[in-house]
């Protein structure tokens, strides 16, 4: 498939090709419109950038290292680098976005922050920045996820956030997102909604991708130091909604020599009926305010996906990724629960890094790609595995 250059940016109405937009009820219009009109202006303001960069450096701990994984490179016959987002404060890339959005919320004069969370990583990252700024924080979390992710619930509470169980629908991430949006409808004036992924109505997908783009910005600089060129041959990242992938791909989108590999969660297998591989199983649809690919029944009811990793357990995918999939710019692969578990143990034992279950999916596809010796591969190591120890312990 031929790919046109320079068409991976969002247009003025929030579309990436056929996907995106802002399918929101009128009650949300003033808030979303305010963001649409102001996010670019605020983000490009030098004093905003100064505060943002300062916090990324001194609070998050950026730049995160780009680590040459020697044993993994030997095994796969290519140079493999790991972008260590797991070393960010709170243990994952999620905080890049919450730092950006809390500063934005401050400039919009918002006094109350709401967020959704699945595994709890985005909830913790939001609770963290709210504690830092002394702002009220309410995190919606599916009742089922609250049971599954007790340590992260405790972290959020310790940080002073109120964790509200989402008891509607399937009681997981999708429903937590619905509840957060309903909260925003009911609190139209003083509240900012910090969405955790590149999903939601325009401008969220673009705004979150821009806050996360620091990942690929650093990869480029670090690769020059290590290889003499800013361009890898492959960038590999896991995709649920797709925020770490969007950040890792961002500055390579228009460089067609860089192969962008997105790895979805196949769950028990694509055809098993227990999967979260949206590009394989989804059709165009509308969820949480944007048009994208969506796992749904023939009647257009949203299907509850399955993945061993709560962070990839989402029935949709960000509109940028749907566009990368449809245009052929992105290569979409998948890994099963079992493959992800195997990779998590392999990386732990060959590199001394325990990855999050989400991240482990990205490593699994190394076995399925044929590499040349000269290939330079960057894997976004999006989060650390502490939160998944309960799961890992069952397989020790």
């Amino acid at each position: 498939m031929t790919v046109q250059q320079n068409n991976f940016s969002v247009d003025t109405h929030g579309y990436y090709g056929d996907f995106g937009g802002a399918f929101i009820p009128e009650m949300l219009y003033p808030n979303v419109k305010q963001l649409q009109e102001q996010y670019l202006q605020i983000m490009s303001d030098p004093s905003f950038q100064e505060s943002f960069q300062q916090l990324l450096k001194d609070y998050v701990g950026r730049p995160t290292p780009l680590f040459f994984a020697e044993r993994l490179s030997q095994k796969h016959g290519a140079s493999i680098y790991l972008k260590r987002e797991d070393l960010c404060h709170t243990g994952a890339h999620k905080i890049n976005n919450t730092i950006g959005q809390i500063l934005l919320a401050e400039r919009l004069g918002k006094k109350r922050i709401i967020a959704e969370t699945g595994a709890g990583q985005h909830g913790v990252a939001t609770a963290t920045v709210c504690a830092l700024k002394g702002v009220e924080c309410i995190v919606y979390m599916g009742e089922k996820d609250i049971e599954r992710q007790a340590p992260n619930v405790a972290r959020m509470k310790m940080l002073g956030a109120k964790v509200v169980p989402a008891v509607s629908g399937s009681k997981t991430l999708k429903d937590a997102t619905n509840e957060a949006i309903r909260d925003w409808i009911n609190n139209p004036v003083d509240t900012h909604y910090i969405i955790g992924s590149v999903v939601g109505p325009h401008p969220y997908p673009d705004m979150v991708a821009k806050f996360q783009s620091v990942i690929s910005e650093e990869i480029k600089k670090q690769l020059i130091e290590k290889t003499g060129s800013p361009y890898p041959t492959h960038v590999i990242a896991c995709v649920g909604g797709g925020s770490n992938a969007a950040g890792a791909f961002y500055h390579f989108l228009d460089d067609l020599s860089v192969k962008l590999v997105a790895v979805e969660a196949a769950g028990c297998g694509i055809a098993s009926g227990m999967s979260a591989a949206t590009t394989q199983l989804g059709k165009p649809g509308i969820l949480h305010g944007s048009k994208s690919l969506l796992m749904q029944t023939n009647d257009g009811q949203v299907i509850e996906p399955h993945s061993i990793s709560a962070g990839l357990d989402y029935p949709g995918i960000g509109p940028l990724h749907a566009h990368l999939f449809k245009s052929g710019r992105g290569t979409f692969m998948s890994a099963t629960d079992e493959q992800a578990l195997q990779s998590a143990f392999e990386i732990s034992r060959t590199e001394g890094i325990i990855p999050a279950l989400e991240t482990a999916h990205a490593f699994s596809v190394l076995n399925d790609i044929h590499f040349e010796k000269t290939d330079v591969v960057v894997i976004c190591l999006s989060g650390r595995g502490d939160k998944d120890l309960d799961t890992y312990m069952k397989y020790l």
Partner: protein, 256 residues
């Protein structure tokens, strides 16, 4: 003439629109619900098409959507149930729902089927004005379907006028920025309703969200053409063994 237009030609005050969820409380209860509403004083019937993720709705309507889906309701089943509805129901009928199930059914198919069974208008809260204007408006027009837009207390005057110019049937004035079934006080919103009235818009205005009894209904009707009741009616059907009787009691409490 479209039944909504005829209605507002004859009746300019205290128009009562009642919402029910298709497939609730039972899969096949709709015909009985509709005829009970017609017999007991409703002026317009709004039928909710259940969806797994009804963003603009509060807990009561969410729950009714879940029950209806579990009962087996879907857009094809709904149109099948509405096939002969015009032999008994003469009130205007509006379909309310969310975009995704309609996109899967096919928007053109949807408009054709709706027109064929005698539906008069559509409310799709997650279809924004920009998309409607650019892609969808002609389809609704061609099939004689009114497209009803929402405005809220936060909607600015310029935008209200723009919405009014694209809207047809009536304008749905959300009583306060909230999801359906809220308990925010309607009476506090009289300046907002008055402001809408003074704008002398093209469309009649019905107030919705938080209307639940005689007091809130009358309060909403003071400056507008009428009001919409949803959650409170759905609640009255919960666990009801006699839809006729429950509906009669409910509407008597609102209207007399």
């Amino acid at each position: 003439m479209n039944r909504i237009d005829s209605l507002f030609k004859q009746k300019k005050q205290s128009v009562l629109n009642v919402y029910c969820t298709a497939g609730y409380p039972q899969l096949n209860s709709m015909v009985e619900v509709l005829s009970s509403l017609q017999e007991n004083g409703a002026d317009i019937i709004e039928i909710g098409m259940p969806y797994s993720d009804p963003l603009a709705d509060g807990p009561v309507i969410q729950q009714s959507n879940m029950v209806a889906l579990e009962n087996g309701m879907s857009i094809p089943v709904l149109f099948e149930q509405l096939k002969n509805i015009r032999s008994t129901i003469h009130l205007p009928i509006i379909l309310m729902g969310y975009m995704n199930p309609i996109l899967q059914f096919g928007l053109k198919n949807f408009c054709e089927a709706a027109a064929a069974v005698g539906v008069d208008g559509v409310i799709l809260p997650d279809l924004p004005m920009y998309e409607f204007e650019n892609d969808y408006q002609p389809l609704f027009d061609e099939h004689g379907l009114k497209f009803i837009f929402l405005v809220t207390p936060e909607t600015g005057e310029e935008r209200i006028r723009k919405i009014d110019s694209l809207c047809s049937g009536f304008l749905y004035a959300v009583s306060s920025s909230s999801t359906t079934g809220n308990n925010k006080a309607i009476a506090d919103q009289s300046t907002y309703f008055k402001r809408l009235k003074e704008m002398q818009l093209n469309n009649p205005i019905l107030v919705g969200f938080g209307i639940k009894d005689k007091e809130t209904f009358q309060s909403a009707c003071q400056y507008t053409n009428g009001a919409i009741i949803g959650s409170a009616y759905i609640k009255s059907l919960e666990g009801s063994t006699n839809i006729q009787l429950s509906t009669k009691e409910f509407l008597n409490n609102v209207l007399t």
